[in-house]
Subunit: 131 residues, 2 copies
């Protein structure tokens, strides 16, 4: 499985679509977007920080393990770091697979692992007070 | 849940991205792509036909039911009909939801229902012989 991991301080730009083989039957894309309400408080956005080297290594380990459970052709993960305002994406994942089943399973498992066991932290930021 | 269903004889063009609310935390997109190999035979593409009015009604019924199980904000389904060459999409689905869980579940269930219980048929077409 071809694995690409990127961290960026800038707004996420979807990588150009490209099908590396004629055996791909499913292309899945996920944008994780910052929501206005988090645990009942209104936010202006979230601030993300990562131990980038460790986060990359940990995510690579998880993806290598998940590739044996849900073999797909390629996965491309982009995580934005720093300040991300409400309505913008902090996470983008594209998965290419022969069939949809393993692609959907890999997507769900990758996001779970990212949230549970990769050193990326988010800090809530309340909305600015009304003028 | 906002439901949009389209059938088109033309290559699928992704509708413009638009977030209708600040409470959307997950945007999922799926392209179902025609693969070269189907049951071991090499194909040049697939030909899709539908009873369009019945297919739309049946899919609407399924989505109304699935919306109660996996409440999302919006789903947009585009199915291409007619000849679809290998490497091009016959199906596009975009789902917007507050959280990823219900979005991923709705995506998986929608494709299952589409394949099992919506009157759209595909006919295989062998590759043209080598010149």
């Amino acid at each position: 499985m071809d694995i690409t991991i990127e961290f960026t301080p800038d707004p996420i730009v979807m990588p150009p679509a490209h099908l590396p083989s004629r055996e791909i039957g499913a292309a899945l894309e996920f944008h994780g977007i910052v929501r206005e309400l988090e645990n009942g408080s209104a936010l202006a956005g979230l601030h993300y920080e990562a131990h980038e080297k460790m986060a990359r290594r940990r995510l690579e380990q998880h993806l290598a393990e998940l590739a044996t459970l849900y073999p797909c052709v390629a996965i491309h993960c982009i995580h934005r770091l720093g300040w991300v305002p409400v309505g913008e994406a902090s996470l983008y994942i594209r998965i290419l697979s022969a069939h949809r089943g393993e692609g959907i399973a890999l997507l769900a498992a990758t996001i779970d692992r990212l949230k549970q066991d990769v050193p990326i932290w988010k800090m809530t930021q309340p909305s600015p007070p009304a003028p």
